[in-house]
């Protein structure tokens, strides 16, 4: 059954939007940390996207994406009232949330949206939540207001210093860790190099660090192993064993390599899409 888009909010024009989807069966079950696999149209591929928020009463879920290739570009062409052909979920293990004092939730780029749902879960469990968010510049910063509504503190970093602290999220995180000896857990979601940098930073502080891995997925239900990652020397399937893992145990080098497996095909597919859209326009 196609899933209707009830609301579209353009967060960064042409790059990132937030879609509110009519999916009560998923909203009922989804917990922070879960994701969906969706297929935009008949010839589409299956892609994973984190559930950024849910409203079980209204029967909706929210997804946020960054246009990085053909499928997300096609998603961006959809408007309110349009439908996504297939949305499957909730998938993955929910975030392990327990009272542990202070939690620092770090989000980079579109990862801030995924982090937002998890931070909310930690707050609901009674934890003190500090969020650290970062982007290249102020215009690309997501969810600053949304996070301020419940987080105990929002630390903002931009690479060019146009908003908050100048630097990377790791600079913001270092400041928090140096100041707060009682941090029970760090959660990091964003591009792989960012998660790796966070894990490297927290290691000497000896703080539990959870990362949400975004490997290539097909089915999302443990059938194929496309999403396999090496954690603590063992092969794990991110879709069913994760997507969250101990950041200090993840083999990020292998993870980065495997994400490049279909680069030439991805570029070809996107170029073809732009060519056809160009002809239409």
């Amino acid at each position: 059954m196609p899933v209707a888009i009830l609301k579209k909010r353009r967060l960064i024009p042409g790059q990132t939007s937030e879609l509110t989807l009519d999916a009560s069966h998923i909203a009922r079950k989804a917990r922070p940390g879960n994701f969906v696999i969706l297929r935009v149209s008949e010839k589409g591929e299956r892609i994973p996207l984190t559930i950024a928020d849910t409203d079980p009463q209204a029967g909706t879920i929210t997804i946020v994406y960054l246009v990085v290739g053909k499928s997300t570009a096609e998603l961006e062409t959809l408007e309110e009232g349009d439908s996504i052909l297939d949305v499957c979920g909730p998938l993955g293990k929910p975030t392990h949330i327990e009272p542990c004092g202070t939690v620092v939730c770090v989000g980079g780029g579109t990862g801030i949206a995924a982090m937002h749902h998890i931070a909310k879960g930690h707050k609901a469990a009674g934890n003190r939540v500090i969020t650290v968010i970062g982007s290249r510049c102020e215009d690309l910063l997501l969810f600053k207001e949304e996070l301020s509504m419940f987080a105990d503190e929002v630390v903002v970093t931009t690479n060019d210093g146009s908003c908050g602290m100048q630097g990377f999220v790791t600079d913001g995180l270092r400041m928090v860790l140096d100041r707060e000896p009682s941090v029970g857990e760090v959660v990091a979601i964003g591009p792989v190099p960012m998660m790796e940098a966070v894990a490297n930073l927290t290691r000497p502080y000896n703080v539990k660090t959870t990362v949400s891995l975004n490997s290539i997925m097909i089915d999302g239900i443990g059938m194929c192993g496309a999403c396999r990652v090496v954690v603590g020397g063992e092969v794990k399937f991110a879709c069913v064993d994760g997507p969250e893992f101990d950041g200090h145990q993840v083999d990020f080098a292998r993870m980065r390599q495997r994400l490049a497996a279909f680069k030439p095909q991805e570029e070809l597919s996107w170029a073809e899409f732009r060519r056809l859209r160009g002809q239409e326009a």
Binding site: E45, C88, D219, I221, R228, V235, Q257, A260, Q265
Partner: protein, 477 residues
């Protein structure tokens, strides 16, 4: 008709089994069209006449869903294909599929009396012929003789989790009795392994779709993108008032080799590779969005039907060299003889008595070669097959830029973990009462690969039929 029996008997021994036309190997490796082309009406009639109409047919005993084989063949001889199809559909919801993918040589045809001294009747090919002829026709009409398919038993409803062969059998059987069936499937297409696993050139997807359309016409409701254990649990279904639940989620968790280099780029589980190509139609990329990977030198590990499917798929996607790397010898290969024969015709190399010891990559993590070790055969093990023994120091490096691992699957815990009180065996498969298919939870049934481990389409259908009969007995008395 029975007056003809003695002459038919003589003819049966004299007339050779009718061959089935197929695409020549040189042509078919360039496309994904079906390899075997099916009987013409004349061929079907000739072959049907070979059946000697045994009074106590052994073939029926050999069929896991107990098709009335002499019955449907007799109707072919009489020229009543309509009635022949009705006889098939009485016990088999997917005749066009089974006629193609069943290992008939070990089932119905393996039991055929003609096979004792000559060649058995080509039951599978005849089943396929009749089903293909009536594919597009209305299922209700075939079953009930009327076009209407009204629900006879208001208020009775059964849920199936998974839409593979076992669940489809349950759905087909119960809906034909007027019981409402809802099927919940995790993927976006229905059919399970028939859709994501078995390639188009062995089982055209159009056939599966039509069989499922026939079930929809019969009143079965399908829900795609509902993941058993995630979107919906067994408890949810019982709470919603379903009278019984059937779990048919298969055994989809791929096994890996556990050798160094398995996570290099270019190394795939057969499930991933086949899902990309079959479900994602990656052979049409970039007209479709799912990409597949095209290797030049492809190694496939394992020698079952899945390995054959993966190897033949890689060949069709343009691989120059495709090798089946297997620890034992050709004689021990578990694949169907027909598939092995087709693979060899298509130029797939068999590299027997070789075990992978390492997959070697370049500095960017892409697979570039494979190290294998020579093996020799020792004493038969508990499976009755000779166990392979490594030959000391005999290693060999082979250039290889793509590897597909087809060494079997295990139990996927997604469903079983979410069902408290569900009894499992030590391998994680669901324990059931062998006569009824009922699990440790009352009115919750299970069948197919999630009970037996990876087996055949038809054995999953047999399990579905057993459970469906028990469900019907309880609900209808």
């Amino acid at each position: 008709m029975s007056a003809n029996a003695p002459t038919e008997k003589k003819k049966g021994k004299a007339v050779p089994r009718t061959a089935m036309p197929e695409q020549p190997a040189s042509v078919r490796v360039t496309n994904f069209n079906e390899v075997t082309l099916g009987y013409t009406p004349e061929m079907a009639l000739t072959e049907a006449k070979r059946c000697i109409q045994c009074k106590k047919p052994l073939c029926v005993k050999g069929c896991p869903v107990e098709i009335n084989i002499p019955g449907f063949i007799k109707k072919i001889v009489e020229g009543d294909l309509h009635e022949s199809y009705r006889v098939l559909r009485e016990t088999n919801s997917l005749p066009a599929v089974c006629g193609r993918v069943c290992p008939q040589e070990t089932q119905c045809e393996g039991s055929c009396i003609l096979g004792k001294k000559g060649e058995p009747v080509a039951i599978g090919r005849l089943e396929r012929f009749v089903a293909d002829t009536f594919m597009a026709s209305d299922a209700c009409e075939q079953l009930t003789g009327t076009h209407a398919c009204s629900l006879e038993h208001e208020g009775l409803k059964v849920a199936c989790i998974g839409a593979g062969p076992s669940s489809l059998t349950v759905a087909g059987y119960l809906s034909s009795l007027g019981i409402k069936v809802h099927v919940y499937e995790a993927l976006h297409e229905l059919g399970g392994v028939l859709i994501y696993g078995i390639p188009e050139f062995r089982l055209p997807k159009e056939i599966v779709r039509k069989e499922i359309e026939a079930m929809k016409a019969q009143g079965v409701e399908f829900h795609t993108n509902w993941v058993g254990g995630k979107t919906i649990t067994v408890q949810d279904l019982l709470d919603q008032g379903f009278n019984a639940v059937f779990i048919g989620v298969g055994a989809g968790l791929p096994k890996f080799l556990r050798v160094p280099g398995e996570n290099l780029i270019g190394v795939f589980s057969a499930n991933e590779y086949l899902t990309r190509v079959n479900l994602g139609r990656a052979y049409n990329f970039p007209a479709v969005d799912t990409p597949a990977y095209t290797g030049k030198n492809v190694a496939v590990f394992g020698a079952g039907n899945v390995a054959m499917d993966a190897a033949r798929t890689a060949k069709r996607l343009g691989a120059e060299r495709v090798m089946i790397v297997y620890r034992r010898s050709e004689k021990e290969m578990p694949a169907r003889l027909e598939e092995l024969h087709h693979a060899k015709e298509e130029g797939i190399e068999l590299m027997c008595l070789n075990a992978p010891v390492e997959l070697v990559g370049d500095e960017k993590g892409w697979l570039k070669s494979l190290t294998v070790q020579k093996m020799m055969l020792g004493e038969p093990d508990e499976s009755g097959r000779c166990s392979p023994i490594a030959c000391d120091g005999q290693f060999c490096d082979i250039p290889c830029d793509m590897a597909i691992i087809a060494v079997g699957t295990g139990s996927n815990p997604l469903m079983t973990n979410s069902t408290p009180g569900l009894e499992l065996n030590k391998w994680g498969y669901i324990t059931v009462n062998e006569d009824t298919g009922e699990t440790s939870i009352p009115n919750v049934f299970a069948g197919g690969d999630i009970v037996t481990g990876a087996a055949t389409v038809i054995s999953a259908m047999g399990a579905g039929r057993r459970a469906a009969k028990e469900i019907a007995r309880r609900l209808l008395g």
